[in-house]
Amino acid sequence: MSDFPFLSILTLLPLVGAAVVAFIPRSKAELAKLVALVWSLVVLALSIFMWAAFAVDGDRFQFHESYPWIPAWGANFTFAADGIALVMLMLIAILFPVVILASWHDVDQSKRSAPAYFALLLTFEFTMIGVFAAADVFLFYVFFEVMLIPMYFIIGSFGSGQKQYAAVKFFLYSLVGGLFMLAAVIGLWVVGGRTFDFAELAQGAGSLDTNTARWLFLGFFVAFAIKAPFFPFHTWLPDSGGAAPAGAAALLVGVMDKVGTFGILRYCLSLFPEASRWFAPAALTLAVIGIIYAALLAVGQNDLKRLVSYTSIAHFGFIGIGIFAFTTQAGTGAVLYMVNHGLATGLLFIVVGMFVARRGSALVSDFGGAGKLVPVLAGVLFFAGLASLALPGTAPFVSEFLVLIGTFSTHKGFAVVATLGIILAAAYVLWMIQRTTQGTLNPALTEVPAMSKDITLREKVVVAPLIALLLVLGFYPKPVTDVINPAVQATLQDVGTTDPAPTAVADGKVGG
């Protein structure tokens, strides 16, 4: 089964689907939605097969495929997945059908074309799968740039509020980051033996000149730091997250932003190990500032979607320290965080979208006491909030705990400051809950008929799988950590770091 060309088929499948959906006439909007949903479910089914075929104890990279593309440059269509890419591909496969179902009525009210919207979503899935499945640096770069296009149109054409402003800002931030990466990609090709193949480049990583490697690292890092986003490159995200349709926003922070952290893990760390170690203190500093800074900003937001965007920036800070702490626990925690954050923040964005769709406004001050009207929906919002503040029993606890405990063993100060972030997380979640669903009922809400309609069957089907996954992985995360762990260890081997021994054991005072 592992000879089956999973990755190329997975990548192309949604593109074909997008083409099919795009050709469905506007008058048959329901058919377009149905085709898009079924198509994304087929992708999910195939991904599950791929997960089953992945050998946890096997090679670091599996499902390797390579087809010639531009022989003169040595660029190939090379696909391969390690455990890190595998869990991200699985996350994509799970989130897309959920988001498609959640976005069912998003276009109905507007004058826009529903088939176009769902075709864009499938196109976006194509670029997402491609960027994580690529094992050729040039191919990765191309997907990295192409993925902007569907999201640009989703925000710009189907968003709300200052959507044009947000879309352009999003595009330019990413594009400029991409230009830095392009420069670094070309530089890498020149000094790295005129190849784009990741495996070959990683092997030659040690022979790069120190200064050159640091410059190249920086080119990649700036692109990824904008994408993730890390403080101070973050200001595009609240605008985009606030303007994008809620489902698309879930994909934006749940999947697309992970390309940044994934890129750092795969490309910065493995290709420039010395530079990664050299830059680590700076990166850790940015990440920790981001945790505290963005959490404080989230507390102060009056727009639900912007609020969730800021919580995401804080969460990316945790992922950032996990990556640059260079321990097995922190690294595995960071990757697990990427998955769990996709589920938790994805759920949060989707539920916020359900509230916004009912109220016709995303402003916190337009709610108040809504729990009285929509108790179940308020309960789901609360659960999503709990997952976001990493309560034990929900999956994000495991990843946050791993990141912090792993970081503490190498960087005590950073870990302690980051731990204070869990207090702020409780503050922004609970205050948001209090202002929207608790307290006296805002009289304006009773005048909106939609606000008295509690969760529908479709909405239950949307949230149920995410809630179930968050709980199951909260109690039994091992199936996922076992997949991630070897890939993280291989990455840390590339970086050239080893876990510190427990200090008391290292001193020989306690038998290890």
Binding site: P232, L296, L297, Q301, G369, L391, T440, T481, D499, V505
Partner: protein, 642 residues
């Protein structure tokens, strides 16, 4: 002489201890997922699940008692929870003498309070939801005491925090309830952060979070590390147990329904901090400074609770401050260490009975008085609510420590132990604090009792017909009253021996600054003085309006200005900082980047175009940002080259 901690694997019936947690958890899931469909019978499922856990707890307890005293423990690993590199954390449970008594307290008192709540919440449309949360609490609390490593403890620790939040803000449409719930969760998270960092230290130094391995590895740690570790755990304990300086949330938690106050905010959850320190006794015993700090926290808190409690007029708030104060005694006990560990646990169990009894009694009074909570508006209720009056009386006599009720057997030995500190000034300071606390306790509890049940009736106009509560509420009261009377004597004779495997045998010779007989006499004298004073002051009732008061009483009414301090030092600056950052992020970080771009692009006139999405400005803004980073890099490089 190092003692090695070892736990025996669970065998036979004891391998089913996971059911203790699973049953209430399953019940909570059913109640919350089925929704209104379970409204008719949900509360009975809630009661039954806790009762079932209690019965199982008794069976397991008997089994544990049947084991040889040397291997009286049962450790059970359910599944691998986290296994990454050297970090190995199992979903593991430990049933030993310490967790055993907690299981019986939680499920035993819990069953009675669940039963009581069936009556108390009868007319509340959210009763099923209430029982769902209540069961969730019991499950989390049992996990907290049954975990065999600190991560499991943390799991339950935050779980009870969640349940506490849900139940404090149960009547979520009241803004005060929603605020109180949030406040409780936030202050608890401050403590949780401390506990979490403590766990990180264990892993970084010892490579494990299992109780046994941590305790056995302590000898390899420096004194400073042990001190820091213990202080971090103490922060966690203070947050959960409402101890100074994290006490402010507990009185506000009275916004929740009264059964919640009785079970969570008196009998069980708030004693989790005592459990944490008692469980970690090898850590605390290993460092004298750590013990001194813990004793000081206990002494400060117990006096603070008494003083504030004496100035409050809300029956539940008086009881809440009393809880703060009584847990102060427990902290004092666990801080003293040695034989006092067991004394603190005995006081914890006795307190579980008499305080639950009084909270439920207060609920019964409120039930008969249309939810009135102001003790100035009670009086003469002894004639109308005989069962409530008599059961409350046992709780009152127990807490002030009148022999032979339970409080006498559990509190007086802690006072005596405080006088036995090795350093003389410590013995005097902490001993006298505990003694003074006993007198103050007698004063404020007698004030509460007399104003509620005796003296002239001072009822409001609309509320002239107080009535006794139904049997479903009075039966738990009677059972808890029996416990309040008898428990102390029973436990003081056997519990200390039972806990020996956990705390080690008591070796210290009594060498106090005062003889034990002297302390007994003194504590009875201050108790009688405090109670007599209160009785004579309040037997004719009290003014219905707040009276002008001196500095001390005014300060006590305002919680000794601790809330004002928190507001001035944390809340207000926090709010201003947040507002400033929101402004800065919108106008600053974004604005600076965009602004530099505009300047580079040629004049401020272009700033306006930013808002319409002027493409070149953005490109420039990004370029500027990136140039800044590159510039910084070059600067570092140059410095590095030099």
């Amino acid at each position: 002489m190092e003692q090695t901690v070892e736990f025996a694997p669970a065998t036979g019936v004891l391998s089913l201890i996971w059911l203790l947690v699973a049953i209430p958890l399953a019940s909570a899931a059913v109640l919350l997922l089925l929704g209104r469909r379970a409204d008719k019978w949900g509360h009975w499922l809630g009661v039954l699940s806790v009762a079932a856990s209690f019965v199982l707890g008794l069976v397991f307890f008997a089994n544990l008692a049947g084991l040889e005293s040397g291997s009286r423990s049962a450790e059970l690993s359910l599944w691998e929870f986290i296994a990454v590199g050297k970090l190995q954390v199992d979903f593991g449970l430990l049933f030993d003498p310490l967790s055993g008594v907690f299981v019986l307290l939680i499920t035993g008192v819990g069953s009675l309070i669940h039963l009581y709540a069936v009556g108390y919440m009868e007319h509340d449309p959210g009763r099923r939801r209430f029982f769902g949360y209540f069961n969730l609490f019991v499950a989390a609390m049992l996990l907290l005491v049954l975990g065999n490593n600190y991560v499991m403890l943390y799991f339950g620790w935050e779980g009870v925090g969640l349940a506490s939040y849900l139940l404090i803000s149960f009547w979520y449409t009241r803004p005060s309830a929603a605020t109180a719930g949030k406040k409780a969760f936030l202050m608890n998270r401050v403590g949780d952060a401390g506990l979490a960092i403590g766990i990180f230290i264990m892993f970084a130094t010892l490579g494990t979070t299992d109780y046994g391995a941590v305790f056995n590895g302590l000898s390899g740690l420096s004194a400073t590390t042990v001190l820091v570790l213990g202080l971090l755990l103490l922060i966690g304990a203070c947050g959960k147990s409402g101890q100074f300086p994290l006490q402010a949330w507990l009185p506000d938690a009275m916004e929740g329904p009264t059964p919640v106050s009785a079970l969570i905010h008196a009998a069980t959850m708030v004693t989790a901090g005592v459990y944490l320190i008692a469980r970690s006794n090898p850590v605390y015993t290993a460092n004298e400074t750590l013990q001194l700090v813990t004793v000081a926290v206990g002494a400060i808190t117990l006096l603070m609770g008494c003083i504030i409690g004496a100035a409050k007029d809300d029956i539940k708030r008086v009881l809440a401050w009393s809880t703060v104060s009584q847990i102060g005694y427990m902290f004092l006990g666990v801080g003293l260490g040695g034989g006092a560990y067991a004394l603190a646990i005995i006081h914890l169990l006795a307190h579980g009975f008499f305080k639950a009894n009084m909270f439920l009694g207060a609920g019964s009074v409120m039930h008969g008085m249309h939810d009135q909570v102001d003790i100035r508006r009670f009086g003469a209720l002894s004639k109308h609510m005989k069962i409530t009056w008599l059961t409350f009386a046992t709780g009152w006599l127990a807490i002030i420590g009148i022999p032979p009720l339970s409080g006498y057997f559990s509190k007086e030995p802690i006072i005596a132990a405080a006088f036995e500190r090795e350093v003389a000034w410590e013995a005097w300071v902490f001993g006298l604090a505990a003694l003074l606390g006993a007198g103050l306790t007698a004063f404020y509890m007698t004030r509460l009792f007399v104003l509620t049940f005796h003296g002239p009736a001072r009822w409001t106009e609309d509320n002239q017909h107080p009535h006794e509560s139904p049997l479903i509420m009075t039966i738990p009261l009677i059972l808890l009253a029996i416990g309040s009377v008898a428990a102390g004597w029973l436990m003081s004779t056997s519990v200390a021996d039972w806990l020996t495997p956990v705390f080690g045998a008591e070796q210290a010779e009594p060498h106090g600054v005062l003889s034990h007989t002297m302390i007994t006499i003194l504590s009875l004298v201050v108790t009688v003085i405090g109670a007599g004073l209160a009785w004579s002051l309040f037997r004719r009732g009290t003014a219905l309006e707040p009276q002008p008061a001196g500095v001390v009483v005014t300060a006590a009414r305002r919680n000794l200005y601790t809330d004002a301090f928190n507001e001035a030092v944390f809340e207000r600056p926090g709010i201003y900082l947040t507002r400033a950052l929101v402004f800065l992020d919108n106008k600053g970080v974004d604005g600076v980047v965009n602004g530099i771009a505009a300047a580079v692009g040629g004049g401020s006139g272009r700033l306006r175009r930013l808002q319409t999405g002027f493409v070149r400005s953005y490109a420039l803004s990004m370029l500027t940002g990136a140039m800044l980073v590159v510039g910084a890099f070059i600067a570092i490089q140059l410095g590095w080259l030099v």
